[in-house]
């Protein structure tokens, strides 16, 4: 067993920032990550970091834009914290050597971005995320913070009280991918989950293969509610074969979208008569899919993004990296042919419910970054708002876990008096745990109660070391079970089925029938998963085993997305419902929360906090 004060799970932007903050606050900090830190998906971010840095700009404007962008589903305390802290934390990056793009006078450049009332997106070329990630990893190296890289976190070690709010998180169980060894990690002060997005729940995503929602799933099964999971952002221009993102810059420079018949459908079919290709992400994504669904898609799959008319010179000058992307990942030369594009899953607005200090309802358990939902993005994230979220809330979580006093949070977490219970939605299938034990056969972390659980006193284990030992034992048994079996189904098949269902039915367009179908398929996947086995018999670098674990997490996460999509009967932000074409503020100014509840998902709601420090944000029609 390894022991540290603070254990950070995940080493993307959020995890690294949290670790640095915890270390600076004096805690003995360690990072456990399934990838080496510089491999994290934060490195893929291109656009930039929103921060009100310049004179003339103001954090309040940033907060206002963010709230409006969220379609009034962001919580004001979180939104204001983000806007207030972003400038300082961005400058901190500058002082750590981040190579920001510069103005003539040597100051950092800022550029305009969708939905912003002031050009406040700070950037470093078209590789902002890469630099952010590397600069922060460098600081981790400088501070000598211990990194357990290529250690896959399988589960949390929490205590077992019936009410999640009484539980305590003592650490995690992880396995060393290289050697296959399973070990407990004891966290004396806190565990911070920073495991990134759940993009792999969809089969077409701009997210990395490693974005499997592990943190979501393990927190969820330990009793923390997942919040607003139905809000998924789809980016209109990703390459069809890989999902690699083609930046909005192409359309910004004048790139045009065509359907199979060569029509400029954004105008000719009236999707956006004013903004055309430059309409907001959700509008363009829906337009593209409508074209495809109505039989006007190229190869019935995608549309064309054409930039040839911009001329070679302009393209080489401003969009050179796009040429490389199209060439390297799609085999298409953007100078001579149009590029195929289609909408791809891009970002999850929802996530593990936390307060503005990053804390969840389980004491000692924190979440930050894309896996968390504070919530700042509400129904729709503005471009350039995810990276500041990583550094602002990563830092806060780290400091809080290390014992710094950040004040009483205004955002409440967990099931409590302030929530609204509404379980009258009709579900097509029973969600939640399958086969593995009955209701009370499921331990707090979602695993089955096993022989090793039996304690002489029959009561709840409160001692940390004991909780960790039990959790380790449970994972060892699970692994043995998966490895010993040599017939059944392989995870890849289940994952494929799950991803296809999500993309078919819980995509840009959502109908009641479709989402229900998805829930049924997810249920099937869950049942099939009972027979899953790991074919690779080796303990050395067994990615088969790791992916089998990830697939299980994806099932849980996909289910919450579909459940959320089914119960939210309105059209807000990125969530579009065929039967409900307007935003319903009277009924739906509230967050969807889903908690595992011992294997039987429980759905409830918490009102959005629109009162900020000085002003209240009045919901307005979101138009640009």
């Amino acid at each position: 067993m390894y022991e540290h004060d603070v254990i950070v799970v995940g080493a993307g932007g959020a995890g690294l920032r949290a670790a640095i903050a915890a270390h600076e606050a004096g805690a003995d900090t360690a990072i456990v990550s399934k990838l080496h830190p510089v491999r994290s998906h934060t490195g893929a971010a291109e656009g930039g970091i929103n921060a009100a840095l310049q004179e003339g700009d103001d954090w309040e404007l940033h907060a206002y834009d963010t709230m409006k962008g969220s379609d009034y589903l962001g919580d004001a305390p979180a939104v204001e914290t983000l806007a207030q802290d972003a400038p300082e934390d961005t400058m901190r990056l500058e002082h750590w050597g981040m190579p920001f793009s510069r103005e003539e006078d040597g100051r950092v450049s800022q550029r305009p971005f969708g939905g912003l009332s002031y050009p406040r997106t700070t950037y470093a070329g078209a590789e902002t995320g890469h630099h952010l990630l590397h600069v922060m990893y460098e600081q981790v190296v400088k501070r000598g913070i211990q990194v357990y890289d290529e250690w896959y976190v399988m589960n949390l070690a929490t205590s077992d009280e019936p009410n999640p709010k009484d539980r305590e998180c003592h650490g995690v169980v992880a396995y060393d991918v290289q050697s296959g060894q399973i070990e407990g990690f004891k966290a004396n002060q806190g565990v911070i989950l920073a495991t990134g997005g759940p993009g792999q729940a969809f089969d077409h995503t701009t997210n990395a293969v490693s974005c499997t929602g592990d943190g979501h799933a393990i927190a969820y099964r330990a009793g923390v509610p997942l919040e607003d999971m139905e809000f998924i952002q789809f980016h209109p221009t990703s390459l069809p074969s890989t999902g690699v993102l083609i930046s909005e810059g192409v359309r910004g420079e004048g790139g045009i979208l065509y359907n199979e018949d060569g029509e400029r459908f954004m105008f000719e079919h009236g999707y956006a008569n004013n903004a055309g290709e430059l309409a907001s992400r959700d509008v363009v994504s829906r337009a593209e899919l409508t074209e495809v669904n109505e039989g006007r898609g190229v190869n019935d799959e995608y549309v064309h993004l054409d930039m040839r008319h911009l001329g070679e010179e302009r393209i080489l000058d401003r969009l050179e990296n796009i040429l490389h992307l199209a060439e390297d990942f799609e085999g298409v030369d953007g100078l001579v042919e149009p590029m195929p594009v289609k909408p791809g899953q891009h970002y999850a607005m929802g996530g593990i419910e936390t307060d503005e200090n990053g804390q969840t309802c389980i004491s000692g358990l924190y979440a930050a970054g894309e896996c968390a939902c504070v919530s700042v993005h509400g129904g729709n994230r503005l471009g350039g708002n995810a990276l500041p979220e990583l550094i602002v809330f990563g830092k806060r979580a780290g400091r809080h876990a290390a014992g710094d006093d950040l004040g009483e949070p205004q955002i409440k977490t967990g099931y409590g008096n302030d929530v609204e219970d509404e379980t009258d939605v009709e579900l097509p299938v029973t969600p939640g745990s399958a086969g593995i034990g009955t209701d009370d056969g499921v331990a707090a972390d979602g695993g089955p109660r096993s022989a090793s659980d039996a304690r002489s006193d029959g009561g709840i284990a409160t001692d940390a070391a004991g909780a960790i030992e039990r959790a380790v034992e449970r994972e060892r048994e699970r692994v043995d079970r998966l490895m010993d079996r040599d017939t059944g189904i392989q995870h890849a098949e289940i994952r494929q089925k799950l991803q296809t269902a999500m993309t078919d039915y819980v995509n840009v367009f959502r109908t009641e029938e479709g989402v229900k179908k998805a829930l049924r398929i997810i249920r099937e996947c869950r049942e099939e998963y009972q027979d899953v086995y790991v074919d690779d018999p080796s303990r050395t670098f067994n990615t088969d085993l790791q992916q089998t674990y990830e697939t299980r997490n994806l099932i849980d996460v996909a289910e919450t997305i579909a459940l959320g999509a089914l119960v939210r009967t309105e059209f807000r932000g990125a969530h579009w419902r065929a039967e409900h074409q307007e935003r319903k503020d009277e009924e739906w100014l509230k967050h969807t929360l889903i908690s595992w509840n011992g294997g039987k998902p429980d759905i409830f709601y918490r009102p959005v906090i629109l009162e900020g420090d000085e002003k209240t944000y009045e919901p307005k029609v979101r138009s640009y």
């Binding site: 490195g43 920001f100 085999g331």
Partner: protein
Amino acid sequence: MSTQQPEPESQEAPTDPEFQGAESSVDEAERSGGDIDQTAADPTDLEGETVLIKVFRYDPEVEAKQEPRFDDFHVPFTKGMTALDAVIYARDQYDSSLTFRHSCRQAVCGSDAFFINGKQRLACKTQIAELEQPIRIEPLPHQEVVKDLVVDMDHFYDQMHAVEPYFQNEETPAIEDLEEQRQSRENREKIKMSTRCIWCGACMSSCNIAAGDNEYLGPAAINKAYRFAMDDREPEEIKEHRLRIVEQEHGVWRCQTQFSCTEVCPKDIPLTEHIQELKREAVKKNLKFW
């Protein structure tokens, strides 16, 4: 874990060249036929065909793989298919124990540098259509193989860490005076290429000097040092300190300008140029004191 090394000479190589994929590919192709788009509008020569990949296999724990061998996989070609797509297909459809690192699929995470048809390349950035068949996919040379295409990167990381890869200036100021440091556009331009490194290790693997001299810092680490040494935001003393690190015996002088690092770098970083510039900087700095 056991520590005995496999002894390649003393064991007979189980020759099983036409492993798995060869036969199974027929029904697999059928099974997956439905969701593979074989009728793309813009067919290339390979459209609708299968490509043959030969993948290096090794696993210390599996008897048949203790002696490295190559397995053949037949993968149905689709337009835009990359070498990474091909191995993913082989893994998901034929042999789930096929092991390799990968994550971003877009050349930013640096996990999937392999030795493909005799050259260090990022698999996700390598179009199948541009390779000669059969395609030979091996782990990076000059690194210990952990399993299949996975190599031990620890040494690479050690070398990267050895150049103090972090910005050094006076203590970070307090919040109130977090005034930004100015940096000229020219200076940012100068370090721009060097900041693009994704730690893939391709350069190090291609360098024969690094292969011969384990202590050689290697092109990636020297480039990292360059990135900081040339950044005007760091004070002059720190720059001298950095030059002192790279001019040690196993530093820049080891480079024999073989250029293979520059040729394989997927981020097109002019590594040799940076190394040479550091050599000159080091000489210049030392000459001053004569």
